[in-house]
């Protein structure tokens, strides 16, 4: 079960996710975002896509990754079921994603996300785990 929670915000909505390392935190925050758009568990893992992004620091790397996933969903009409972080470092990430063509009915699309924002953004290491937090414009 991915480790994330949906955060309340008056106008928008956020996701806070955790992971034992940066890779897990990035995966969980991505799945948190996808859960705001449709139900990822309804998506079949029919195809695999790879993506690579970079950033200037951890928050901007997280924003780049989320933007890239949004692009797949919105511009390419592709629903992501899950993602595996293949490589991660300062500040680059390589991920492979499984999924299939987006079907709004079958995947129960429940909303759109315009963009991840830098508002109250966090990507930090605590005592025993990493916390990733991002608010979205919806």
């Amino acid at each position: 079960m991915p480790d994330f929670e949906i955060l309340d915000h008056t106008a928008d909505v956020g996701v806070r996710a955790w992971g034992k390392d940066t890779a897990e935190a990035l995966r969980n925050v991505s799945l948190g975002m996808l859960n705001l758009i449709y139900e990822p568990e309804r998506v079949e893992a029919e195809e695999v896509k790879e993506l690579q992004v970079s950033g200037r620091d951890w928050p901007s790397l997280m924003v780049s990754l989320l933007q890239e996933i949004l692009f797949l969903v919105e511009a390419e009409g592709w629903a992501v079921r899950d993602l595996r972080i293949e490589e991660v470092g300062e500040y680059r990430v390589k991920a492979s994603l499984t999924g299939e063509r987006l079907d709004p009915q079958r995947h129960r699309v429940c909303g759109e996300i315009k963009a991840p924002t830098y508002h109250m953004i966090k990507f930090e290491k605590g005592d025993d785990r990493w916390t990733a937090q991002v608010y979205f414009d919806v």
Binding site: T10, P59, V109, G111, K114, V138
Partner: protein, 481 residues
């Protein structure tokens, strides 16, 4: 939180957060509202955002907030900030991700009595005609070149393709073409996100609503509005194109930030000098998104007219389906305003606020030059919407700006917890409001209880002198993505 204690009441509906209430403020913050609005904004962190915006380099007069203020990201929603063009900045966050998100009102000569028996048929036609929601492709397929032309030339390009009317152009800000648009400043990603989305409603708080004019005041006749008239409101923006342009330029300006040595209290307020390369490039790309947004609303208008034609078996011109006006409530515009007795060229950011110019301003089309600019205020589902008009006082107090809607008071999650989509649909239908939506959970997020009372907001705007009421409408049907 806690800025409320520092706020000074300057008028019945005017509150000032003085310079010094928070570190780095260059000008005071001014919030238009009553004590309750101020209190809620304080609890919500929105007052801190007003103070943060007051730190922007080159900001003049004050960091303003309209009575529909609520917590945004970077700027508060309802925020207005003007920066001096020569030494000030442009901030993409002060425009928002949905560049030129806006509202328009299409009139008809039909009365509610003539429409109510055919409402279901009309909604069937509208549902078939207007694409909405994620995963739905638009009806307009554009090549890269055609998309570039649309961004550069705005709505007249669409009209040349046979979508929309020539006479609609003068009822849009900038005549349907925001100047300075340069598609070479738009990324490939943004092109691809916007490509299939011209003429799509989108989801979230975007909607198409059939409304009936319930009450009219002075100037309604001049605007062609009368009691029991059926009108159609469209709320949509620049879709994925604008979202991507904003994201792209936030990254570009973040990377350029060390060069300008700006100290900003919130990363989301990232900005660049108006006269810098980053600033000029953003403005050229923003103009593309603004033109795309107006085209988007114009294409939807075209299909609304077709739906009426199919339902009432008469031409849309015969049915009086003229555009009243089209306003953007997320945009930055170059405008001339008086500051301390001196006329200045300013970059006016309106983030969830509407331009509201009075009679006499040269920017207004001839038909409204003596009347003033129509301002279109959408209510939330199930409540009233309004047409307002700009005032001279607003020119002095708010750079000619007023509110943009009701403003949220409850988060989407809390709204969903409080009311179920199905239950809400039944409740609205029992109030005589038909609902067509693909996603009932999305409907619950937009429940009326999640918003402030729009009537109260409009009254406060009038009380503060920011705008005056022209007409009040009630919804009879809503289409949502």
């Amino acid at each position: 939180m806690g800025l409320l204690r520092a706020a000074l009441q300057r008028g019945k509906y005017v509150w000032e957060i003085p310079v010094g209430a928070q570190e780095g403020m260059r000008v005071p913050g001014v919030v238009f509202g009553d004590r309750q609005i101020l209190q809620k904004a304080d609890e919500d962190n929105a007052l801190v955002q007003v103070a943060n915006v007051a730190c922007l380099p080159g900001i003049v007069k004050a960091s303003l907030a309209m009575p529909d203020i609520h917590w945004g990201y970077g700027f508060p929603i309802g925020g207005v900030a003007a920066t001096a063009v020569e030494e000030g900045v442009i901030s993409p966050g002060g425009v928002g991700y949905d560049i030129s998100c806006g509202v328009r009102l299409v009139k008809s000569s039909l009365t509610w009595n003539e429409v109510k028996g055919r409402l279901d048929e009309l909604l069937d036609h509208l549902e078939r005609g207007v694409p909405k929601g994620l995963g739905t492709k638009g009806r307009i397929q554009l090549s890269r070149k055609e998309m570039e032309n649309l961004m550069k030339r705005g709505v007249k390009e669409l009209v040349a393709r046979g979508i929309g009317w020539e006479e609609d152009l003068e009822c849009m800000e900038e005549g349907g073409c925001y100047p300075g648009a340069d598609p070479s400043k738009v990324s490939d990603r943004a092109f691809q996100r916007g490509r299939d989305q011209a003429g799509t409603l989108g989801s979230g708080n975007h909607f198409l609503e059939i409304q009936v004019v319930e009450e009219v005041g002075p100037l309604a006749e001049e605007m062609g509005l009368f009691e029991e008239q059926v009108v159609v409101m469209v709320h949509s923006g620049s879709r994925g194109l604008g979202h991507q342009i904003c994201s792209d330029y936030i990254e570009i300006m973040n990377a350029a930030l060390p060069k300008y040595k700006f100290r900003l209290p919130d990363r989301q307020l990232v900005c660049a000098p108006v006269r810098s390369k980053e600033g000029q490039d953003y403005l050229a790309a923003m103009a593309c998104a603004a033109n795309f947004a107006m085209c988007n609303r114009e294409a939807i208008t075209h299909w609304i007219r077709e739906a009426f034609e199919a339902t009432f078996r008469a031409g849309a011109r015969k049915l009086g389906m003229d555009l009243l006006y089209d306003v953007s409530h997320n945009l930055a515009k170059l405008e001339r305003h008086m500051v301390d007795g001196k006329e200045m060229e300013l970059m006016v950011h309106r983030k969830g606020a509407t331009r509201a110019f009075p009679a006499g301003r040269p920017e207004l089309p001839e038909r409204y030059r003596e009347v003033g600019q129509p301002v279109i205020i959408p209510g939330d589902m199930g409540s009233n919407s309004y047409v307002l008009v700009g005032t001279r006082e607003a020119m002095e107090m708010s750079f000619g700006s007023t509110c943009h809607g009701a403003g949220r008071t409850m988060s989407r999650k809390a709204a969903k917890k409080k009311v179920r989509g199905e239950e809400l649909k039944r409740r609205l239908e029992s109030q005589g409001i038909k609902v067509r939506t693909d996603h009932l959970s999305g409907l619950a997020e937009e429940a009326p209880e999640a918003y402030k009372d729009v009537t109260e907001i409009v009254e406060i705007c009038e009380g503060a002198g920011l705008s005056r009421k022209v007409a009040r409408m009630r919804p009879v049907a809503v289409l949502k993505g």
